[in-house]
């Protein structure tokens, strides 16, 4: 297992010199009470390499990052950066920083209402003149240099909010690396940088990362999105249960192979078989719907069918779901549920009619983070426990425990707070909340965002089970590869209109991307 790293060393798929090592991690171990988070993990990152780090939730990725950046002290092992070896059991955050280890987290920690210049200055210090006041000239010069060096699409005064997520990520990277000037020492760690990015911005970000690497920067790239890992990394290290499975040349892998390495056993596929459940009976019909950016969408979903809606961020996919669910009011058009015209003015009405909706942003729109799992799971079914005198709390909790085992939610108990669960388990709680109502129409907006491969497979299995029970399902996802695999049919939304409606047997992710892009220019962008 750990030997895989060694056996691959001779196999150079990259132009980088082989023996050259920027970061060498040796025999890193870390034990938390009751858990071995890392078990003698070793890996190497070469100069100028984009090195992927993959693993399911709890595989030890975040522990490894925290040890590399000095947040956690390892129980044993060493970390060597640019030839300087440090005891990983005693390395402080300051030492890690001085060695050149920089982490850009998923939550970028940038300030959208401030300018690029201010954001960069907050990361180091404001340039001051002799009197101690801020020297704007010096700052401006420095900001321009950084903007040029990191290909940030803006000028020093540009407000960060206007940049888009990819641009903001670049600013965060620039802020992290600015102290290094043009000397490309150390290691840049990117933790799930693309979670909130639409497809074309992902490409822009990955292209920039490749350019940094080409200039000599070593990058450790952590992502659940395996297609990105496959497309932008030179090598990939895989962690499983706190152990290093191995380091592989990316060119020697494909996505299925990588999944196998991550989950540790052969998965015939992550996505369950399409059940022959689809019928001709229409659950939902949308006729000439106008809402937000949607300028006349017509689509339908049948019982037992999974429909995907593909579109770029801001194309209005989410607005369609929200309108059906009664959260947004349509401007025009007609909606029918089981043949009856519907006009929901509140989600409550939609729920009564058998519609369920899992929103895009779990933290802000679905999770009651500081309440228990039982409470979270019961909010869609409170009235069932009301016997007109009191709330039958005992049944509520017992049912919650039952649902947790039915939907494979891992938590201490039904009384654990939702925030103590991993992303995948939280999402399963949200899904269970809706599936317990046996909805006729299930609307899912980015159902696997921030969810690891294993939980993702489970979620799609539950979705298929719902269709087998007769539900119609609509999925919106910005990961088109996943959308193609998880759905029976896809409609593509572009410029507010449906431009394609095809069975997924006739589509692949590239084709969906091509259809979803607004113009040829944008298709070329990023390559």
């Amino acid at each position: 297992m750990a030997a895989a790293a060694d056996s691959d060393r001779g196999n150079t798929g990259t132009p980088v010199a082989t023996a050259d090592v920027r970061v060498r991690v040796r025999d890193l171990s870390k034990t938390f009470p009751g858990t071995r988070a890392l078990d003698r993990v070793s890996m190497e990152v070469r100069p100028g390499e984009v090195h992927g780090l993959c693993g399911g939730n709890g595989s030890g990725k975040s522990t490894l990052i925290k040890i590399l950046s000095g947040v956690y002290h390892a129980d044993g092992g060493t970390i060597e950066v640019d030839g300087v070896e440090t005891d990983a059991g005693a390395m402080t955050t300051t030492q890690a920083y001085e060695a050149g280890v920089r982490v850009v987290h998923q939550d970028l920690g940038v300030f959208p209402t401030m300018s690029i210049e201010e954001n960069l200055a907050l990361g180091s210090s404001f340039k001051t003149g002799r009197g101690g006041w801020i020297s704007h000239r010096a700052m401006r010069r420095r900001t321009r240099e950084l903007i040029e060096r990191f290909d940030i699409p803006g000028s020093p005064g540009t407000q960060l909010g206007a940049l888009g997520r990819a641009g903001q990520t670049l600013v965060a990277v620039a802020r992290a690396l600015q102290g290094e000037e043009s000397d490309h020492g150390g290691l840049l760690i990117l933790d799930e940088p693309t979670v909130a990015l639409p497809a074309h911005e992902v490409e822009m970000l990955l292209a920039s990362l490749k350019r940094y690497a080409a200039a000599g920067q070593s990058i450790l790239y952590i992502s659940h999105r395996l297609d990105e890992v496959m497309s932008c990394t030179d090598r990939v290290s895989v962690l499983r249960d706190g152990r290093m499975v191995g380091t592989y040349e990316t060119s020697s892998l494909d996505e299925n192979k990588l999944i196998e390495l991550i989950v540790g056993r052969r998965l015939d596929r992550v996505f369950p078989d399409r059940l022959a459940a689809a019928t001709d009976q229409r659950v939902l019909e949308v006729q000439d719907l106008k809402v937000g950016p949607v300028r006349g969408a017509t689509l339908h979903v049948n019982r037992g069918e999974v429909l995907g809606i593909a579109g770029l961020l801001g194309s209005g996919c989410s607005e369609i779901l929200r309108t059906v669910f009664g959260d947004l009011r349509r401007q025009d058009g007609e909606l029918r549920l089981n043949g009856n015209v519907i006009d929901f003015s509140h989600p409550d009405d939609a729920m009564d009619a058998g519609v369920a909706y899992v929103p895009e942003n779990r933290g802000e729109e679905a999770a009651f983070a500081d309440l228990s799992v039982a409470t979270n799971i019961s909010f869609t079914a409170l009235s069932r426990y009301w016997n007109r005198a009191w709330l039958r709390d005992w049944s509520l909790r017992r049912d919650a425990s039952g649902l947790m085992s039915e939907y494979l939610v891992k938590a201490d108990s039904q009384s654990a707070l939702l925030e103590t669960l991993s992303g995948g388990n939280q999402q399963k709680v949200i899904l269970a909340r809706w599936l317990r109502r046996e909805p006729q129409l299930l609307l899912l907006d980015e159902p696997t965002q921030g969810v690891d491969v294993g939980a993702r497979a489970e979620i799609y299995k539950f979705v298929r089970e719902a269709t087998a029970a007769g539900a119609g399902v609509v999925i919106v996802a910005s990961d088109f590869e996943e959308l193609v695999h998880a759905t029976d049919r896809i409609v593509v939304l572009r410029d507010g209109e449906i431009v394609a409606d095809r069975p997924t047997t006739e589509l692949d992710a590239d084709e969906v991307t091509r259809l979803a892009m607004a113009s040829e220019k944008e298709i070329a962008y990023g390559n």
């Binding site: 522990t63 009651f368 019961s378 009191w390 891992k410 009384s415 497979a457």
Partner: protein, 371 residues
């Protein structure tokens, strides 16, 4: 034309002190200590003042005990009125002034307009209903910041009281049957305290054992998510202000009875004591959440301390010192304990993540144990 605005996340959500806990095991010493610290402190103070030679005799006297139980009932009901919208995340600072307004309205109806006591009570409840409606419309309807709006209606109601009474106390004309009610006992317990306990049980029942209360808690946790699981957020928040207004009116009715008058400054002056009780209460019983029994304990903790120190010879400053001091100490204790516990929760979360990774991955086939 435009799409309907989304449910508004309010800018400032008053969060109870300390991290919220529900799932922590209650069996740990720290957990028990935390849940029980306030009751223990209360018992400790009572014991202390009972044995101290300077206070013991007077403190233990039934007259003193009855005075504390009776006098604090108004504070308690006003504090409970505040708790209801707070569970949903909205301050209602107007409650004490609304109680004062109800007090004046009721006393005026009975004493100056010669109505029956029953009509006086209805007048008070009507005032509470109107105040709750106004607050509810401003906060849930117009989506204004609750803290600022209710501070405004608090001041406004105080002004109305002054306008109506010209600053004079309505003192003549309250029938003895009404004013003596408060000094009567029911199996040895002052009736105002019985009323407080009845009100507390009702509020506790509504918050914990009726869907309405659970929904308020959901809104307090995440109002956007609450709407998206079908809760009529605006309606529920509006209702919480109505309940708050009515409870404030009950406090006003009790105030009329216990003072046998309507002093224009009496009602509004309860604001800080009630606020302190609510926040102290959020550190006990259900630590980290505004709760009924914690609030009641908070009321009596401060009351006993103030009473004891007054008996020891302290003067009127002791009231403010205690309300303020207890509040700050409550925050400090709960925050410090919370930080330690948060670290434990983080470890538990890491452990949970690690164990979940080693469990089987379900693909198309049902999951089977792998190790």
């Amino acid at each position: 034309m435009a799409t309907e605005p989304r449910a508004v996340p309010l800018k400032e959500r008053p969060k109870p002190f300390g991290p919220l806990r529900e799932g922590v095991r209650h069996t740990t010493v720290a957990g028990l200590l935390e849940r029980g610290a306030l009751p223990l402190l209360l018992v400790g103070l009572i014991l202390l003042f009972s044995v101290l030679s300077s206070t013991g005799d007077t403190f233990r006297s039934s007259g003193n005990i009855n005075a504390i139980l009776g006098n604090q009932s108004v504070t308690g009901i006003i504090a409970l009125a505040m708790v209801v919208p707070l569970v949903a995340g909205y301050f209602d600072l107007s409650v004490s002034a609304v109680a004062g307004l109800a007090n004046v309205g009721m006393a005026s109806a009975i004493a100056q307009h010669h109505t029956s006591v029953l009509v006086g009570i209805l007048v008070a409840l009507g005032i509470g209903l109107i105040a709750g409606t106004v607050n509810g419309l401003l906060v849930a309807g117009l989506k204004l910041d609750a803290l600022v709006v209710t501070l405004g209606t608090y001041t406004f109601a105080g002004g109305l009281i002054q306008l109506y009474t010209h600053g004079t106390t309505i003192i003549n004309g309250i029938p003895l049957s009404l004013s003596s009610w408060s000094s009567e006992k029911w199996i040895g317990v002052p009736k105002p305290f019985v009323l407080l306990i009845v009100v507390a049980i009702i509020v506790w029942y509504v918050l914990m054992h009726v869907p309405f209360g659970r929904k308020l808690e959901g809104i307090g946790s995440n109002s956007v998510a609450a709407r998206l699981v079908g809760m009529r957020v605006n309606r529920l928040v509006f209702m919480s202000f109505i309940v708050s207004g009515l409870l404030a009116a009950v406090a006003g009715i009790l105030l009329t009875s216990s003072t046998g008058s309507a002093n224009p400054t009496a009602g509004p002056s309860y604001l800080f004591a009630a606020l302190a009780a609510v926040f102290i209460g959020s550190t006990a019983i259900r630590p980290g959440r505004y709760n009924v029994w914690g609030t009641i304990l908070g009321v009596f903790l401060v009351a006993v301390a103030v009473d004891g120190f007054t008996l020891m010879g302290a003067e009127s400053w002791v009231n403010q010192i205690f309300n303020g001091g207890a509040l700050v100490i409550a925050v400090a204790v709960s925050t410090l304990m919370g930080r330690r516990r948060e670290a434990q929760a983080r470890k538990a979360s890491a452990r949970q993540a690690a164990t979940s990774a080693s469990s089987p991955v379900a693909g198309a086939a049902p999951a089977q144990p792998s190790s």
